[in-house]
């Protein structure tokens, strides 16, 4: 891949980093829902601007990680510098530089999205012309509007037979207050309308404005760990200039780093002597941990530092916790090493060692949300070849005891004993977009999850936006699946943290043969404790095979038992079949049984299969065949 644009490409020549007047810069991002075609559109832009030629084009060039590619989502954003010669209109022939800043596409990464947006002056609102806008897109649109970005509405996939551009143009126009005719129409797949879109970006988006003579201030909008290069930090310069020989300073910590390299992405890294006002580029300092180069922080020059940082910085705060345990206890060091590695590239991941009586040694990990949890878990299993049990995710509770003592509870089993005066739980503001047929079902679901309706709007004749306040703890447990199943997959959800509320919560313990199993403890609303206890106890009865003795399963709040099931003692465990002289088969069967037992976790004297820990906490129905009643052995 040639690192520099083809000299014959449109726009080549004006674009030397550090020497581009802000008036010729346009910084924009693309706001889109998963699979509405953002990556394909970005690919076409790379081709049209000549930074990637068609022959070398790899589909969805910007999504680098396999998991992202497979999931069709972009976790980490990047910024690509593209030269562009305007093709039509008043400015036809003018050479400009476009910086396309990629944004994460999921609810858990709202903060990262907000920083990416803050690095831009414009946003392309990309909507699938066959599907219409989705809740996360809407939430990001609102973020863009709050950041005073110029929003260019674009309907994508107009080549699809199912496309309804008129209908969705109405909807989008209604949302951002423009005319339906203002919605551009493109096909990322065929390239139709993409050049016009680039021209419109130049025309509509305002150029960046900053103080070139002031001390440098650049905002970090992404920070990525690379095995070979260490941390690569992506910045947008607001004021001043950063030169390749400068020593930089992180304003949140005061830490000073030598710059090893500075440059722009086009779409590979291109070294440069400096970057100035309005420009977007990368910095490499040799630090090995993205925590030393945090998204939202302000970078300045150590020799001539700015006095005040840019606004909007905040530390990533874990919202959801889960215990991760290796199925094979001897994998614990490998799990620790793997988390240490992932942490290098993930400032939001937190973890500390934890011991569970049921699951052994593991880590209590904090995540931005459920998707974040799933991604980390999947990467641990896939990239590090670990088999893991994860406990049911929980949120952080603040418990104030009667004596005034305050506890932060990140693990239900550590819920303080004794009398609590107040318990606070985190809440979120959630937005659900749905065809109006499902409004009733969604209201029922949200009310069942202790939701408070804050508003309801028709986006168009048949699409509704519902706004709810919901306890976060109520939506991390199968809410999204329920939402999808109740709306045949049509509804979309977005939410953002919105503080905390006092709630009547209790801790439900599950006792197996009289012993509380820490991994099954859960904090639930008082009105739901009974149901929860009954459900889990019934599930466990089916999941835990019969033992040689009777095993009571109890759900209890404190010392009060609220549900009980019994696993009857196993009476028959013998190969009562004539195997003739095939002793080998008999021995193998026994060795298999023995191996099966080895994979059990001992909880007191009770053998519990690994699957029970996973299945008990999932929403799937458990069939009776797991109950060990079958004679098939």
């Amino acid at each position: 891949m040639s690192p520099t644009p083809d000299p014959g490409a449109p726009g080549a020549g004006v674009s030397l980093p550090g020497h581009t007047p802000p008036a010729l810069l346009r910084n924009f991002c693309i706001i889109a829902h998963i699979d509405h075609g953002k990556s394909t559109l970005a690919d076409r832009m790379l081709q049209l601007t000549g930074v990637v030629d068609a022959r070398k084009m790899r589909d969805q060039y910007l999504d680098r990680m396999d998991i992202e590619r497979e999931r069709g989502i972009t976790i980490k954003s990047q910024a690509v510098r593209m030269p562009w010669r305007v093709r039509a209109g008043d400015r036809a022939g003018e050479d400009v530089v476009l910086n396309m800043i990629d944004t994460p596409g999921h609810v858990d990464f709202t903060y990262e999205v907000s920083r990416s947006l803050a690095a831009c002056e414009g946003a392309v609102l990309l909507v699938d012309a066959a599907q219409g806008i989705e809740a996360q897109t809407l939430a990001n649109l609102y973020l863009a509007l709050e950041n005073d970005l110029t929003v260019i509405p674009v309907l994508n996939k107009i080549d699809l037979p199912a496309a309804q551009p008129e209908k969705y143009a109405e909807e989008v126009a209604h949302l951002i207050g423009c005319e339906p005719a203002d919605c551009l129409r493109v096909s990322g797949k065929t390239g139709e309308g993409v050049a016009h879109l680039l021209d419109e970006i130049v025309r509509q988006v305002t150029p960046p404005v900053g103080e070139p003579e002031s001390p440098a201030r650049a905002m970090i909008f992404d920070s990525v760990y690379d095995v070979y290069r260490g941390v690569v930090t992506y910045v947008r310069v607001i004021d001043g200039q950063i030169g390749a020989r400068d020593r930089i300073k992180m304003m949140s910590t005061g830490a000073v780093h030598e710059l090893l390299e500075l440059g722009v992405i086009s779409p590979e890294m291109v070294k440069s002597g400096g970057i100035g006002v309005g420009e977007v580029g990368y910095l490499i300092t040799g630090v090995k941990d993205v925590r030393q180069s945090r998204v939202g922080d302000t970078v300045t020059i150590a020799a001539r530092p700015a006095t005040s940082p840019l606004g909007g910085y905040s530390d990533p705060k874990p919202m959801v916790y889960s215990g991760l345990y290796p199925i094979d206890g001897s994998d614990y060091p490998a799990l620790r090493d793997a988390l240490d590695r992932l942490k290098l590239n993930d400032a939001a991941l937190s973890y500390e060692p934890e011991t569970s009586a049921a699951l052994g040694f593991g880590f209590r990990c904090g995540f931005l949300g459920l998707l974040h949890l799933e991604i980390i878990r999947e990467r641990l299993e896939r990239e590090f070849d670990l088999d893991l049990i994860s406990t049911a995710p929980n949120v952080v509770y603040r418990v104030i005891m009667e004596d005034g003592e305050e506890h932060q509870v990140t693990n239900p089993s550590e819920y303080p004993a004794g009398k609590s005066a107040q318990v606070f739980e985190p809440i979120v503001r959630a937005t659900v977009l749905t065809p109006n047929d499902y409004v009733g079902a969604i209201m029922e679901l949200c009310q069942g999850r202790r939701g408070q309706l804050r508003g309801l709007d028709y986006l168009s004749a048949d699409r509704v936006e519902l706004r709810y306040t919901l306890p976060l703890g109520e939506i991390i447990y199968d809410f999204f699946d329920q939402l999808k199943s109740k709306t045949k997959g049509y509804a979309s959800l977005d939410y953002e943290p919105s503080g905390e509320q006092e709630a009547d919560l209790v801790k439900v313990d599950i006792l197996l043969h009289g012993e509380a199993v820490d991994a099954f403890s859960s904090i639930v609303h008082k009105d739901k404790a009974y149901n929860y206890g009954v459900t889990i106890a019934a599930k466990l009865r089916k999941l835990i095979p019969r033992q040689q003795f009777e095993v009571p399963i109890q759900a209890a709040i404190g010392s009060r038992v609220i549900a009980r099931e019994t696993i009857r003692a196993m009476r028959k465990d013998v190969l009562a079949k004539c195997y003739g002289g095939d002793i080998t088969r008999k021995r193998k069967l026994l060795e298999k049984q023995k191996e099966g037992k080895r994979r059990m976790k001992m909880v007191g004297r009770v053998e519990v299969p690994q699957e029970a820990f996973i299945a008990a906490l999932s929403t799937a129905e458990v069939s009776d065949q797991g109950s060990g009643r079958r004679g098939g052995r």
Partner: protein, 407 residues
């Protein structure tokens, strides 16, 4: 230590074989029809030529074994025993349904065995039989050919149970066949029962036991219905047409069998086997369970000689083809490691009424055995006398006990 598939037999250990009796097993892979629960190596045939081809191949198999065991002047078994092959103490014809072959066929196979390896004077010679495949005349022929013991697949006397198992014989036929066998002069007659079939009541099973006991047998095997996934019955259960067997019901049935058989003067000598006296026990099976040596002939037959196990190719056509080419019809083999042998000794020995010498157990297992005694799974008196013997409850949980006693 499983050997590569092929026709070569591990010959080295054969030299030390046969010190504690020697068994011959003959697998007859034919049935009139396949029962829905059966996963044994058997085929339905209507063609008499195929049976004849089977007998021809079996002869070749016997000859080949004789040559392997006795060697050609020098090596092999014979060099240790003045050139003579080992004396055969038990012969067992199993299947399939051995009595799908004519009595004369079984007789000539036995004759051939006797010619190649002298049978001991008191050798136990058993054939399995289905009640509907014997007549007083065929039974008399078998008896006069030297068969001493016959084991009938009775399974149940309840018509609805037999129907679910796809068994063909009319109710009452099994008991009649037992009577005919005794009439023909068989010293030992056994029946097999299956319990725990869905739809079988406690009364059904009690009636089956009572009928079996009244028929004059001196041995009974009772097996719980085990549904293998690969069988027709397994498929019906997966589809929900037939409920799965229930382990609690099976346990109740086992206790019922123990009660009725004990009351009738029988004693258990293996978890699934009871006999009226020591002479009525199946000595051939005891060879299996005590780590003894035997050679299996016929498709899919298993053998064990001096720490080597091997098994023949399963399909009759493959079996015939191997022998026609002069090769041993062996599909695979394994040389047992010390651990394998230990596991087998515990696994098989614990299931016997005489039990296992405590000295066989490894140190960790001794503690487990003590715990099992305390939990009522092993007999306390036997343990004090240095033996590991299951209690009645322990017999029902034998696998759990074994898992604790092996490394």
């Amino acid at each position: 230590m499983r050997g590569a598939q092929g026709s070569a037999l591990p010959t080295a250990p054969l030299a030390s074989a046969g010190t504690g009796g020697f068994g011959v097993y003959v697998h007859v892979p034919f049935c009139a029809s396949r029962c829905g629960y059966c996963d044994f190596n058997t085929y339905t045939v209507g063609d008499p030529d195929e049976r004849e081809a089977y007998v021809t191949a079996l002869y070749a198999d016997l000859e080949l074994a004789r040559r392997t065991l006795c060697g050609h002047g020098g090596g092999g078994w014979g060099s240790h025993r003045g050139g003579g092959p080992p004396q055969v103490t038990t012969v067992f014809f199993g299947g399939g349904t051995p009595t799908m072959l004519a009595a004369e066929d079984l007789a000539r196979i036995l004759e051939r065995i006797d010619a190649l390896w002298p049978l001991a004077g008191d050798a136990e010679v058993t054939t399995e039989a289905n009640p509907e495949t014997v007549t007083p005349a065929s039974l008399a022929a078998l008896r006069s050919a030297g068969f001493t013991r016959i084991s009938f697949g009775m399974q149940s006397t309840a018509p609805h149970v037999l129907a679910l198992l796809d068994r063909r014989h009319a109710p009452g036929r099994a008991e009649a066949a037992v009577g005919e066998a005794i009439e023909a002069g068989f010293e030992h007659v056994s029946v097999d029962l299956i319990y725990g079939t869905p739809g079988e009541s406690a009364g059904d099973f009690a009636a089956s036991l009572a009928a079996a006991l009244a028929s004059g047998i001196d041995h009974l095997s009772a097996y719980s219905l085990i549904v293998e996934e690969s069988t027709r019955l397994g498929a019906r259960m997966r589809r929900g047409e037939v409920p799965y067997p229930d382990d609690d019901v099976a346990a109740d049935r086992y206790l019922l069998a123990e009660q009725m058989l004990t009351d009738a003067g029988f004693q258990w000598y293996e978890v699934s086997n009871w006999a009226r006296d020591a002479g009525g026990r199946c000595h051939h099976n005891l060879t299996y369970w005590s780590g003894g040596d035997w050679w299996g002939f016929g498709p899919g037959a298993h053998s064990h000689v001096a720490g080597v196990r091997w098994w023949n190719v399963k399909h009759p056509a493959a079996y015939r083809a191997a022998l026609a080419a002069g090769a041993a019809p062996v599909e695979g083999s394994e040389v047992l490691t010390a651990d394998d042998r230990h596991i087998e000794a515990v696994l098989l020995g614990v299931r016997l009424a005489e039990g296992l010498p405590a000295s066989v157990l490894r140190p960790g297992a001794v503690r487990e055995a003590q715990a099992a005694v305390a939990e009522g799974l092993l007999e306390a008196a036997a343990w004090r006398a240095g033996r590991v013997v299951l209690t009645l409850r322990g017999r029902l949980l034998a696998d759990a006990v074994v898992r604790r006693l092996i490394p």
